[in-house]
C-alpha cells in the first residue's frame, strides 16, 4: 500500500492512532525511505522547539502580568483591596498603552451634563432615567438605584450595565458604593445611601482617545484616581468584604440599624 506524505507527516506528529497508525508502522518496516521521511519530520519539530524554547524564559513585562491578574471593570473579588487598586493605577499610569484613556473628575454642573448627554450615549432607556433631582441633590433612580441597592460586587455579570466596585461605610455614617456604567462615555462615581436614597457624591467621565472608534475598550479602568481619592477621603475603616456587603444589603443599607 502507498502512504501519502500528509499521512506520513500526521504519523510523525503523533496524530494517528488505531488502524491508521498500524498501517504506517507496517509500511515503515518495509520501506527505509519512509522511515527517513518520518525521522526528518521529527527532527524538524525538535529543531523548531529548541530554537523557540528560549523565548519562554524571557522576563515577562509587568503590563502583561497585571493585565492577566486584573479583574475586568470593577474588582469582583471577595475582599476588595484598596492597595491593590492603587498599585494597579500606578502601573496603568506608568505603562504605555495602545489605546489611552483619561479620566477627569467633573463638578456638579458638568455632572448634570454628563447625566444629560453622557448617559444618553450610554444607551439608557429614556423612559427610566438613572438619576433624578432629589431636593437639590442628584440621586440614583431606575437601573442605577436598583443595582446600588441589590447588586453584590462578588457576583455580578461583567455584562451588567451597572458595575458595582467597592462598598464601604463612610465617616458620615452612610453606606457608600462605587459604581461604573458601561457605554461610550463610561461614567463612574460614588453613591451614598442617605434617607432611603442613593445620593451621587461624585461622578467622573472617562474619555477614550478616539483612535479606535467602536473598538475595544480597556477593562482596566474600574476605579479612576478621582474615585479612589474620594473613597480614601470618605471611608471609615476598610471596604466591606463580601459578607459585610451582603449583610448591609439585607439591612437595606441602613447603617443606623447596625449600631443602635
Amino acid at each position: 500500500m502507498t502512504i501519502s506524505d500528509d499521512t506520513l507527516m500526521a504519523f510523525a506528529d503523533g496524530e494517528l492512532d488505531g488502524p491508521a497508525r498500524a498501517a504506517v508502522e507496517l509500511a515503515l518496516r518495509a520501506d527505509p525511505q519512509l522511515e527517513k521521511r518520518v525521522a526528518e519530520h521529527r527532527a524538524l519539530r525538535q529543531r523548531l522547539q529548541a530554537a523557540y524554547s528560549a523565548e519562554l524564559f524571557e522576563p515577562m513585562p509587568e503590563r502583561l502580568l497585571s493585565a492577566a491578574r486584573r479583574t475586568p471593570d470593577m474588582p469582583r473579588t471577595n475582599v476588595v483591596n484598596l492597595q491593590d487598586a492603587r498599585d494597579a493605577m500606578a502601573r496603568d499610569a506608568a505603562r504605555a498603552r495602545p489605546s489611552q484613556m483619561w479620566w477627569r473628575p467633573v463638578g456638579s454642573i458638568a455632572a448634570s451634563l454628563i447625566i444629560g448627554f453622557g448617559l444618553g450615549y450610554a444607551s439608557w432607556h429614556q423612559s427610566s432615567p438613572l438619576t433624578r433631582n432629589g431636593g437639590g441633590a442628584m440621586v440614583a433612580s431606575g437601573q442605577l438605584a436598583e443595582a446600588l441597592s441589590h447588586q453584590l460586587a462578588a457576583d455580578q455579570s461583567p455584562a451588567s450595565t451597572v458595575q458595582i466596585g467597592i462598598s464601604f461605610l463612610a465617616k458620615s455614617g452612610d453606606y457608600c458604593r462605587t459604581f461604573s456604567l458601561s457605554g461610550a462615555v463610561s461614567p463612574a462615581g460614588v453613591a451614598c445611601h442617605h434617607g432611603q436614597e442613593w445620593q451621587i457624591q461624585m461622578l467622573t467621565q472617562s474619555v477614550g482617545s478616539g483612535d479606535a472608534p467602536g473598538g475595544y475598550r480597556t477593562a482596566a479602568s474600574g476605579m479612576s484616581p478621582a474615585i479612589l481619592k474620594a473613597v480614601d477621603e470618605q471611608i471609615a475603616g476598610e471596604p466591606l468584604d463580601q459578607s459585610a456587603e451582603s449583610a448591609a444589603r439585607s439591612k437595606d443599607w441602613n447603617s443606623t440599624q447596625a449600631s443602635p
Binding site: 507527516m9 523548531l48 530554537a51 519562554l56 515577562m60 503590563r63 502583561l64 486584573r70 479583574t71 475586568p72
Partner: protein
C-alpha cells in the same frame, strides 16, 4: 467550584500561558512590540469573555484564537498589512545559504520569517506550540485538511531553507 475560586484560577492560568501567548504573537506579528500589545488586548478580552470559554475546551487554544483575532482587528484598524513590507524585506535575501551550527537558532527563526503567514502560523501552532491538528485548525477557523496542507508546505519550505542537518 464557586465563582471566585474559578476566577482566581483563570487569572493564574493565563499568567502561566503568557510566555506561550507572547511567543505565538511574535510568530504572528513578527514584531515584538506588536506582539506584546496584541497579547495584552487578548488577555483583557479573554477576561471579559471568560464566560464564553467552554470549560472542556483547552484554555491555550482559546487564548491563541483570541490573540489571532486581536491581531486581525489590529491590522484592520491600521488599514494596512505589515506583512507586505516584511515580505519584501525578507525577499531581499532569499536563497539557500549554508547554515553555521552556532547560528542555528537564528537561522530557524530567519527561515520561519520567510514563510508565508498561513504556513508560518500553522507551523507555529503545531510544531512550536505543540497543538494537535484539530486544535490548531480550530484556532485558525479552517478545516483540518487545509491545516495539514499548510503545515506540509511550511515544513517543506523550512527543510529546504535549513537543510537536513544542523
Amino acid at each position: 467550584m464557586n465563582t471566585s475560586e474559578t476566577s482566581q484560577n483563570i487569572h493564574e492560568q493565563i499568567v502561566a500561558l503568557l510566555p506561550r501567548l507572547r511567543r505565538f504573537a511574535r510568530n504572528l506579528t513578527r514584531n515584538p512590540h506588536d506582539a506584546d500589545d496584541v497579547v495584552q488586548i487578548a488577555v483583557e478580552r479573554a477576561l471579559v469573555r471568560v464566560d464564553q470559554w467552554r470549560r472542556d475546551a483547552r484554555l491555550d487554544s482559546w487564548m491563541f484564537k483570541i490573540v489571532r483575532n486581536a491581531w486581525i482587528d489590529e491590522l484592520r484598524s491600521r488599514g494596512r498589512r505589515d506583512k507586505i513590507f516584511l515580505a519584501e524585506e525578507a525577499g531581499d535575501h532569499v536563497g539557500i545559504e549554508p547554515i553555521e551550527s552556532e547560528t542555528a537558532r537564528m537561522s530557524v527563526q530567519a527561515a520561519m520569517a520567510r514563510l508565508p503567514e498561513d504556513q508560518r502560523v500553522a507551523v507555529g501552532l503545531v510544531l512550536v506550540e505543540g497543538l494537535p491538528y484539530k486544535e490548531a485548525a480550530e484556532v485558525l477557523d479552517i478545516p483540518i485538511g487545509t491545516l495539514t496542507s499548510r503545515l506540509a508546505r511550511g515544513r517543506e519550505a523550512l527543510q529546504a531553507l535549513l537543510g537536513g542537518e544542523e
